[in-house]
Symmetry: none
Subunit: 165 residues, 2 copies
DNA sequence: TAGGTATTGACTTTTTCTGACTAATGATTA
DNA sequence: TAATCATTAGTCAGAAAAAGTCAATACCTA
């Protein structure tokens, strides 16, 4: 295993994992952006840090999750990039609480209730609620295999709630 | 006719690729036209931007598709041209029109553009657009098997648009 | 030592870009 | 007028440039 010493300015003497370095790098980029966005190129960052490119994906999927308030988008092909966007939440956002309270899976009924509650508490608009219901409707969900349906529903719900902060 | 001026614009730190330059140029030409039409000469635009002429075709077929609300016509031979026309929605339930124009499957990019167009035409709110993007994001779609991804995306998009009528 | 976390690399998929070749159309000439 | 030439645009396959996936290990901590 490759272990890298932390820069002196950081916790001295403590070894830092590659994942931590990557995380640090991304967080720094975000903090330097007015829009709380880090645009990176996977191979570039990987070679800068000195790790396998796929390690970047690991870090993104384990640390920069919706639960933690991050939205990821990316483009493949020439000139491709990965964009990590931090959702800034004013106060301790109730929606963030809700997102965090959700598990990896959720059934139809529960999802409906979550949305209803958000609507009633005025956290989301009538219209947003309608769009969310639509996205999670049977018409749509019927098409995804039963065994992953609740998982897809949970992911969809979280992503949609996240942009309502 | 023609009149193309390349700007050194950037997309937030990410290097602008040729396709983006071409797209920008065409969009600018369209926006400058009352008729929402851009007339270009392929070789001229290509040499101005500095790329292979066929690159223009690539951009046209990947970005300015009918599905995205554009109509292309062209003429070969001396004085030939390519005309890119942005279709303006007629008022009678434009969303229904859009929904009907969508097939059973749709890829990520096209879905984005459909939403973008709806937003631009004032058919949906900024907030609805955000929720839709979220529901169709890679983070979500990654979880559904590749072979049915475009199908699920199309179904989701249609359902969401449907409640916006 | 078991179970979670980290790391890698082989392989896949998507997107961009080019160049060689084809097709159409207007202009010129026999 | 018919044939030929010049001037466009269209197509397509392949190379290159990214990012994504996943299974196999390696490491660490309770």
């Amino acid at each position: 295993m490759i272990i890298i010493k932390v820069r002196e300015s950081q916790k001295r003497g403590i070894v830092m994992k590659i994942s931590d370095l990557i995380t640090e790098e991304i967080l720094r980029a975000i903090s330097e952006s007015d829009e709380h966005i880090a645009d990176i190129q996977r191979n570039m960052l990987a070679s800068h840090i000195g790790c396998a490119p796929s390690q970047i994906n690991y870090v993104l999927s384990s640390r920069f999750t919706p639960e933690n308030g991050y939205i990821i988008e990316s483009q493949r092909g020439g000139g491709g990039y990965i964009r990590i966007k931090k959702v800034i939440m004013n106060k301790t956002s109730p929606i963030m609480h809700i997102i965090n309270s959700l598990g990896d899976t959720i059934d139809q009924i529960s999802a409906r209730i979550v949305i209803e509650n958000c609507l009633e508490s005025g956290l989301i608009s009538q219209n947003s609620a309608r769009v969310m219901y639509a996205a999670l409707s049977n018409n749509v969900m019927r098409q995804v295999p039963v065994e992953i349906r609740d998982k897809v529903r949970a992911a969809t719900l979280k992503e949609m709630l996240l942009v309502q902060i």
